[in-house]
């Protein structure tokens, strides 16, 4: 059974210093993002424009997808359509079977995480090597990524040293990032050279040209795709943009929002297979059309997976990506996940103070915190709320709806707090664990007002 966010977060917070380190590491990324954004005077206009382009995309998704398919096919790319994660995984396996391949390389793709492709292929006898360094680290550790852009942000370099010593034979006690990276590179080089099929994700797919763009910093997507006989690109259907010219907006926003870089080191355009190569693209729905039909949550499909909302989220920074038990963590994950499974993810929209910082950093202006609020309403109304909470809320509503009951219970509460504080100041009261209760005054404002102004 999945551990809910609050429980996982409590566990995460048991190590005070590590929580400090995690928070500060991500806050540093948020500050880098701020510096990059503030260097562009028209930043807010760029965000507006990106949001509007995506608005157009979502309103015309059907036509853009068909246009993309037509143009991609014209370029010699084989286009596949997958209704859900299972179909996506089956399509990939069928291509691999046809090739007679049991070992592949894969660069970063949150979609394949969402579809649980790695475990599916493993069950079917296919070995996948993740070639993004961060993803390789979590793969060796047998963990899912904890962040969509920085998959192993929860790992310290000393711990990576231990992991690499075990798996890649680096010297014991070596925690030098350059040496560790070099070791990973050596190890991956052999995989790149020998694997005949490479999977990549897709950051943007251009309808007018039938090409797709993959953004990485390490060049691992390129290395995989260029050395393989078969390149399979997997994309969610919302990744479409109408025209090439729109990349001028999105590429300026993506890396600045994600890591504070002006642009990713590689923004590679894949337009057609080279001679003798096969190129496939798998277009995946997996709940996206359902979300498109939910008016209040539709805008969540504008997401370009930059991770800025995670880096700025004070809750994410202090609970870690794994506490969200979903491929995409943080604020954006919390509004995407309930669409996939309301029962399993009913806790996520509550893992937020609704502070609104996420919506402010979002490069495509998704109203994330408002959607968190809306999901809370939807989940509660559809019976995904604990009975005890419902009863408590009904009791609270009853007290607050009746002025005289409210005044009486307020008075009783203050009296109790003043005279029998152990009733509230005990371990059963979560407030009291790390905070004092307020000191109750003798009279309420209402009582004072009646005496002095009444």
């Amino acid at each position: 059974m999945t551990i809910n966010h609050a429980t996982a977060a409590e566990k995460f917070n048991k190590d005070f210093d590590r929580t400090t380190w995690h928070d500060e590491t991500l806050w540093w990324v948020r500050q880098k993002r701020d510096r990059a954004a503030f260097s562009i005077p028209e930043w807010e206009k760029l965000r507006d424009t990106a949001s509007q382009i995506k608005h157009n995309v979502l309103s015309n998704l059907d036509t853009y997808l068909v246009e993309f398919e037509k143009n991609a096919q014209k370029n010699g790319i084989t286009v596949h359509w997958a209704a859900d994660a299972h179909e996506h995984n089956e399509i990939i396996l069928s291509i691999l079977k046809k090739q007679g391949v049991t070992q592949i390389v894969k660069s970063k793709s949150m979609l394949t995480e969402e579809c649980h492709l790695n475990p599916y292929l493993a069950e079917n006898g296919v070995e996948v090597v993740d070639t993004d360094l961060g993803e390789r680290i979590v793969q060796l550790a047998d963990e899912p990524p904890s962040h969509i852009v920085l998959p192993c942000i929860h790992w310290k370099k000393e711990e990576i040293g231990v992991l690499f010593h075990k798996h890649l034979g680096t010297p014991e006690g070596c925690a030098d990032p350059t040496l560790l990276t070099h070791a990973a590179r050596e190890n991956l080089r052999e995989k790149f050279l020998t694997r005949r099929v490479a999977i990549t994700g897709v950051n943007f797919a251009v309808a007018e040209t039938g090409e797709f763009v993959v953004c990485t910093n390490e060049g691992n997507a390129d290395m995989g795709a260029h050395l393989a006989d078969v390149h399979i690109a997997c994309m969610g259907i919302e990744k479409i943009i109408p025209q090439r010219v729109h990349l001028g907006v999105f590429l300026r926003l993506l890396a600045r929002s994600a890591t504070g870089q002006p642009i990713t080191t590689y923004s590679s355009h894949f337009a057609k297979p080279r001679a003798g190569q096969e190129m496939h693209i798998v277009l995946v729905d997996n709940g996206r059309t359902t979300q498109l039909g939910r008016e209040e949550f539709r805008n969540s499909l504008k997401c370009i997976r930059c991770g800025a909302c995670m880096n700025t989220c004070p809750v994410y920074r202090r609970s870690g990506g794994h506490s969200y038990h979903n491929a995409v963590a943080g604020p954006i994950g919390s509004i995407l996940a309930p669409n996939l499974d309301m029962t399993k993810n009913a806790d996520l929209p509550f893992a937020s103070t609704l502070c609104g910082s996420c919506s402010n950093v979002c490069p495509v202006k998704i109203n994330i915190h408002e959607q968190l609020y809306e999901w809370r309403q939807v989940l509660t109304k559809s019976g995904h709320s604990p009975t005890a909470k419902t009863l408590g809320m009904k009791a609270m509503a009853a007290v607050l709806s009746n002025p005289s009951v409210y005044r009486l219970s307020g008075k009783m509460g203050r009296l109790a707090l003043a005279n029998v504080p152990f009733v509230v100041n005990n371990s059963l009261n979560p407030w009291y664990k790390q905070r004092e209760m307020p000191e109750p005054p003798k009279e309420s404002f209402g009582e004072w007002y009646k005496k002095n102004r009444g």
Binding site: W43, S357, N360, T380, S401, Q434, S444
Partner: protein, 249 residues
């Protein structure tokens, strides 16, 4: 001008002095202030927990209490934001939607009412302390009481504008000027670990930068932060901004 004073439930019960300071401040600037005695709560604790559908009775009560005023003013950005965004007449009483609309448009958080409506330029207050301002998210990001650090836009701050009118106040510069304190309504108990940790980190920032008095526009955040301060026995006093704006120390 007739002003209806909206004192949120937890301020009414736990921080009457904040209500008194708010009342005095409004009266000082010539407002004709009344406190409708049958008020309770804006309904936000239910709504933010996913039970907006249980807030109809609170809404009805709120409309009955406040529809007749030119302005409704409250010393809480969070409760004001909730009313602004969610106050509607119950479905069976659509004839009252006009009153709800009037309230949504005419409700103000205290500091914005002072700067934008009363256009206060002089306070005749004195408070010789190092003051750390906590920017509560709903006031800041929801009501735009001050510019948000995430946006590439011109800085401003209505609460700071007022604090700067108080003689001898020294405003403390924080390392993270608008990070959430972690209160978050029922979040503070449902996600106790993260909530407390966020509170501890906020307070640390104030300690490191020499805050003597912690202030802000939302007593809910301050109640949570005060809980952390008192548990840790730190020498920081907590006061609502209304108390500082009326101080004559």
């Amino acid at each position: 001008m007739k002003v209806g004073l909206f004192i949120p439930c937890y301020v009414d019960q736990f921080y009457p002095k904040v209500g008194i300071a708010t009342l005095q401040l409004l009266e000082k600037f010539g407002c004709q202030v009344s406190y409708p005695s049958k008020q309770t709560c804006c309904g936000q604790p239910m709504a933010n927990s996913g039970y907006e559908h249980l807030t109809h009775d609170c809404n009805r009560l709120f409309i009955n209490n406040f529809a007749e005023y030119d302005y409704i003013v409250s010393p809480s950005g969070s409760c004001v934001l909730h009313i602004k965004e969610h106050l509607h007449a119950p479905e069976s009483e659509t004839q009252n939607e006009g009153k709800a609309t009037h309230i949504r448009k005419r409700i103000y958080e205290l500091t914005e009412f002072l700067t934008d409506i009363l256009k206060v330029e002089n306070l005749e207050a004195r408070f010789p302390f190092r003051v750390g301002l906590h920017q509560s998210c709903h006031g800041q990001r929801g009501l735009h009481l001050s510019q948000m650090s995430e946006l590439v836009a011109t800085p401003f701050s209505k609460p700071e504008q007022l604090l700067n009118m108080v003689k001898d106040v020294e405003l403390v510069k924080l390392s993270r000027k608008d990070e959430c304190c972690g209160f978050g309504g029922t979040f503070c108990v449902a996600e106790e670990a993260v909530s407390s940790r966020m509170g501890i980190d906020r307070i640390d920032d104030h300690v490191k930068n020499g805050t003597q008095v912690l202030t802000g526009g939302d007593m809910s955040c301050l109640m949570h932060l005060e809980g952390v301060i008192r548990r840790r026995k730190l020498p920081i006093k907590v006061m609502h901004i209304a108390e500082i704006l009326t101080a004559t120390e």
